[in-house]
Symmetry: C2
Subunit: 354 residues, 2 copies
C-alpha cells in the first residue's frame, strides 16, 4: 500500500530517511507491501516543494549534492512558492508528517506547532525531535489518540535502537519500574578515551569534535542537557511521570578527572554518565549524573559512542538493549520503523473499509 | 475484549502464564482491554478439563498446590473425561492454543501434531516449545499464514527477553545479516564461576544443579544441544535459512579447562559458549562453540545465567539485547506477549466485522 509522506525539516535525519526509502524501495515493497510517496518537503534553509505525484528522490539527491536548493526541483529558474511549514501541512495531502526540524528544548517550538497542526489535520506524525516529546508529550499523544492517530517518537532517545517499540511489543504486559541508561554517545566516547587511552578530558573532547561526535560548542553533551531531555521523555512516556526538565537533577562529566576515572578502574569500577528515572511514591524521580558502575553492570561494558538502556520490569527483571544512539541512517531508521507501524495500521483500516 | 485460551501442557511455563494472568488481571484489562478466559487445560501428568465458562484460576492453584490433579477441578470424586490433546483442541472452542508441552528436538512431536491440529481448526498458536519451531517452522508458519492465523514462538529462544518481536517491530526495515548470542544460561553460569571464582568445571556444574539451573543429566546444556536448537530457530526464522539440527557445527563446554579460561582472562579475553548464524553465499551457516571474546564485545560482559543476542543489521549495525533466558514467569511472559499481539489483531478484526 502506498503511503503519502511529507517532511518538515530535511537536514541529516531527513536525508537519512529519504536515502533509506530510495535504497530499500523494492525490499520494503516485497517485505511489507509498503511504498512511500514523498509529496512535500519543507526545509528552513533549503526551501520547500509540493509534489503531489511524488518526488523523484534520485533527482532530489542530485540537486542537493550539487549544492542546489530543494525549491529548484522544478528547474534552475523555477520560482517555487515559498511555503511555511504550516501552510505546507495544510496543502500537502500527506497521511504522515515526518517532523524532523531542530530541537529547542526550552520551548519545543516551532516543532510542537507543526505537530499540532498535522494531528488536527488528521495526519499521523513521526518525529526525532526531543523538544515536543520532552515538553508536550501528554498533550500531543492525547491529541493523536483523540483523532485515532499515531504520534511516533521512536527516534527521540536512542535513534534507531528500539526503546518505545520494545516496551510496547516485546515487553508487553510488563510494568516498567525504572530505566537507567547511557543516552549520550559523545560523553561515553570521551569517558572511554579517558579511561582506556589515559587521555585528558580536553584531548578526548577535541578528538570527539574531530570525529564529528561533538559539536563546536559541546555544552549540550558534556553538561548532560542532551541526556536530560531524553530522560524526561522516558520518565513521561514509559513511567507515566509528569517531569519537566527543571525537575531533573543534572551533572555533566566536566568535573570528572582522569585520576578519578583511573582510581575507579583500579577498584573494578567504571564511570558512566547515567540517565536514570524511577517511580518513587507516586512520582518519578529523574537524574543525569556520572556514576561509578561495577563491571558486572551491563551498562559498564558499553564503550565508545554507543548507547544502552536497562529497563527494570516487574515480570522479567532487567532487560538491557545496546546499540547506536545517533547518526543519519540510524535515526532515519527509527523514523522508518514508526512509519512502517503506521503503515500496518493503515492497511488494517483499509481492510475495514472495503 | 475477552480471549478464549486453552493450554496444552501445564508444567512450569503453563503455571507461570496462569499466575501472570491471575495476578495482572485488572492491569491487563485497563492497559490493553484484554481479558483471558481459560477454557481448557490438558496435561500429560495432571489430567485435563474443559470449562467453557472459564476456569477459576485461584481454585485451580489451590487444587494443584495441595497435590491434586487438574481433573479434580469439579470435585474430589468427579470423573472428568480423560481427553487427549487432539480431542481437547477439537472440543474446546478456544481462539488461542498455548502449546506448552516438553521439547523433543529429534521429532518435534507430539507438539507439532497439536499445533497443526489447532491451526487447521482456525486457532492461533503460541508456544515455548523449541521442537516444532526448530524442525517445522516453515510448514507451521505457512499453515498459519494460509489460515490468517498467528504462530507465535517468542518464548522459544530467550524466554521473555524479546527476540522475534524486536526484529519485527523495533528493527522493522532492517535486514538481519548475522545473529550471535549466549543462548544457554546454565553454561554461562558455569563459565562465570570457573572464571570469577576459579571453580573446577565439576564443582561449577554441581552448583548449577543445586541452584536448579542444570538438570541431573546436564548433557543438553553443557554439550550445546539446547543452544543448537535455538540457533536453528534463529537461522530459519530470522535469516530465512533452511537449517536442520544436523547442519549445525556443535561443540559444548566440557572440553574447556580452567587453565584455558584463566589464560584467556589474563590476555583480556573471556570464553563464552556462542551460538552464531550468518548468511553466506545464499545459505545460512550456523554453529555453537566456545569462543574467546574480547572484553569490548557486548556479549563478553554477560555474566551468570543471563542470555544475550547481538543482531548485525544493514542499517543500524549491531544491536544487542540482554536479559533472562529461562524461568517460570519469564517464559510465561513471552507467551503473554504473543497472546497480547494476537489480542491486538482480534480487536482489529472485531472492529472490521461491526
Amino acid at each position: 500500500m502506498e503511503v503519502k509522506i511529507a517532511l518538515i525539516g530535511c537536514g541529516t535525519v531527513g536525508r537519512g530517511l529519504l536515502e533509506i526509502l530510495e535504497k530499500k524501495r523494492s525490499q520494503l515493497k516485497s517485505a511489507y507491501g509498503f511504498e512511500a510517496r514523498i509529496v512535500a518537503i519543507s526545509d528552513m534553509l533549503k526551501g520547500s516543494i509540493l509534489v503531489p505525484d511524488g518526488i523523484h528522490l534520485d533527482k532530489l539527491f542530485a540537486l542537493l549534492d550539487g549544492g542546489g536548493r530543494i525549491d529548484q526541483y522544478y528547474g534552475e529558474g523555477s520560482t517555487a512558492e515559498l511555503l511555511n511549514p504550516l501552510d505546507l501541512i495544510e496543502q500537502c495531502d500527506a497521511q504522515i508528517i515526518a517532523e524532523l526540524t531542530y530541537t529547542d528544548i526550552k520551548t519545543g517550538e516551532p516543532a510542537t506547532g507543526y505537530i499540532k497542526k498535522a494531528l488536527r489535520s488528521g495526519m499521523h506524525v513521526v518525529t526525532s525531535n526531543k523538544g515536543p516529546a520532552a515538553l508536550h508529550y501528554k498533550e500531543l499523544s492525547g491529541l493523536a489518540h483523540k483523532n485515532g492517530l499515531v504520534f511516533g517518537i521512536e527516534g527521540t532517545v536512542m535513534s534507531g535502537t528500539p526503546v518505545f517499540s520494545l516496551v510496547e511489543n516485546g515487553l508487553a504486559g510488563n510494568e516498567i519500574r525504572e530505566v537507567k541508561g547511557i543516552l549520550n554517545g559523545t560523553t561515553n566516547f570521551i569517558l572511554t578515551k579517558m579511561e582506556q587511552d589515559n587521555m585528558a578530558y580536553a584531548d578526548a573532547l577535541k578528538l570527539a569534535q574531530q570525529l564529528g561526535y561533538a559539536e563546536a560548542d559541546p555544552t549540550a553533551d558534556v553538561e548532560g542537557f542532551d541526556a536530560l531531555a531524553k530522560v524526561v521523555i522516558l520518565s513521561n512516556v514509559l513511567l507515566g511521570g509528569d517531569v519537566a526538565p527543571a525537575d531533573v537533577k543534572r551533572q555533566g562529566i566536566t568535573a570528572l578527572t582522569g585520576e578519578q576515572i583511573q582510581a575507579a578502574k583500579d577498584q573494578g569500577y567504571r564511570y558512566k554518565l547515567i540517565a536514570q528515572a524511577r517511580r518513587k511514591g507516586g512520582k518519578v524521580d529523574a537524574s543525569v549524573a556520572p556514576q561509578k558502575l561495577p563491571l558486572s553492570d551491563p551498562l559498564a561494558g558499553v564503550m565508545g559512542a554507543q548507547n544502552a538502556l536497562t529497563f527494570d520490569t516487574d515480570l522479567l527483571g532487567k532487560i538491557t538493549i545496546q546499540g547506536p544512539g545517533a547518526g543519519k541512517l540510524e535515526t532515519g531508521c527509527a523514523i522508518l520503523a514508526d512509519i512502517l507501524a503506521i503503515h500496518g495500521r493503515l492497511k488494517e483500516k483499509h481492510l475495514r473499509s472495503v
